[in-house]
Amino acid sequence: MHRVAEFYRSTPGKKFVTTVTGAVLFAYVVLHTLGNLQIYFGTRMLNAYAGLLHSVPGLVWAVRFVIALSGTLHVVAAVQLTIRNWGSRPIRYMVQRYREADWAGRTMIWSGTGVAAFAVYHVLHLALGSVHPDFVPGDVYHNVMAGLLVLPVSIIYIAAVVLLGLHLYHGLWSFFQTLGWSHPLYDSWRRAFATAFAVGVVAGNVSIPVTVLLRLIS
């Protein structure tokens, strides 16, 4: 077997794939969040930004391709690992208490599933507009405002972002460990990094539906 195939078959190999693809997706999330925050600079700014992205030939499709590929690999490897993990303890403990393993880490598959489902909804809602009540192609600002003013939709957005935060809280820390980036001088920064970015992404993205619902921007 070729080394790369053998590598993927191994559990650390799959873990490596989820980690690297996770990092790509994370980078996308950060950029996307920064983009989203332009909503606070008003209609023109946000729409201009959206227009700019679409004006670069191939950029949108290239990004879509990378995200779709990373997302697929991320999901496939994670699902394979999870199925394996579920099978590793056929008889469960009657009592099980965790000292360290936190809730965010143990529910990665569910927070991940939630985020993936949301991603599909989000594309249908704000990119394609097929589940949007009043979709105007090109008017991003309008689409966001109109879309998020519907309370259940905003709740979905908020819930999804919180799930994403939980996912990042564990995933970003785990990233260093899986890649073998551990050094006593810097190890304490790993937790701080993960927490800071998880909180930042959640705060940035939750603020949008909240401010929309509270009519702080219009």
Partner: protein, 260 residues
């Protein structure tokens, strides 16, 4: 002290197993957990019942035989200790205690609290060694090892192979056990020639045994009786990645191309 014990009883591999409740009234806080089970067993035998089978040997925390999940935590409530070194002074009078065996697909049940951990031996056989013939070793002080390196290797080498890491891991992974050995030998100069081959072989065997995958939950570190750090998992991952994705030319199996 009075304790109520719910102990997993299972006649053999084919038996389904169940919890059985035992009340024990006259134990002393100075007893070790295993001595409490000894007292229970003596009583069971006197009453014509079969004693609870549990594994134990050295009773000083080094052989790695004993191990059970006590109220949901591998090796019980005290950190950094084996069950034989866990004393009843860490429990309260009247406590209800659930005692279960290590549960993992890779550790098939044998009887009561005894499981088969030979999977760990097979991982060691796959590569947990430095191949050296008796007689061919150089004079010991020709290999200089910085004190810090030796200490770090010793931190990893302290693993007693008890399997608490597997038992406690939400995924049933053996990453800490495997990483401890890969790191112990990989940190030392003597271990360099086989370093990457070792990492690859041991990981492959670990996967074959049916252990789960490491998700960096850190639970293993928290229950390890020898407090082995998950830093070693990071070190082992590094060795494994290096060998899998960028092996040295000599070991990649493509060395012959260099002749062209």
């Amino acid at each position: 002290m009075r304790l109520t014990l719910h102990i997993w009883r299972q006649r053999n591999r084919n038996d389904r197993g169940r919890f059985v409740k035992y009340e024990i009234n006259d134990v002393s806080p100075d007893m070790s957990f295993l001595e409490m089970l000894d007292v229970l067993n003596q009583r069971l035998i006197e009453h014509g019942e079969e004693p609870v089978a549990f594994e134990h040997d050295c009773r000083e925390g080094i052989c790695g035989c004993c191990g059970m999940v006590i109220n949901g935590v591998a090796n019980g409530p005290e950190k950094g200790t084996t069950v034989c070194q866990l004393h009843l002074r860490h429990f309260r009078d009247g406590d209800v205690i659930y005692i279960e065996p290590w549960r993992s697909r890779a550790f098939p049940a044998i009887k009561d609290l005894v499981v088969d951990r030979s999977a760990l031996d097979r991982i060691m056989q796959a590569g947990g060694f430095i191949s050296v013939r008796a007689g061919s070793a150089p004079e010991a002080n020709t290999v200089l090892i910085p004190k810090e390196t030796a200490e770090l290797a010793m931190d990893a080498a302290g693993c007693i192979g008890c399997g608490a890491c597997v038992a406690s891991c939400p995924n049933g992974a053996a990453a800490l056990f495997v990483a401890a050995k890969i790191s112990h030998l990989g940190l030392l100069p003597q271990g360099q020639p086989e370093r990457h081959r070792r990492a690859r072989a041991m990981v492959r065997q670990m996967d074959r045994e049916g252990f789960g995958a490491c998700s960096n939950h850190r639970e293993c570190e928290a229950v390890c009786p020898k407090r082995i750090s998950i830093r070693f998992i990071a070190l082992a991952n590094r060795d494994f990645l290096k060998e899998s994705l960028a092996p040295s030319e000599a070991t990649s199996g493509k060395a012959k191309n260099a002749k062209k």
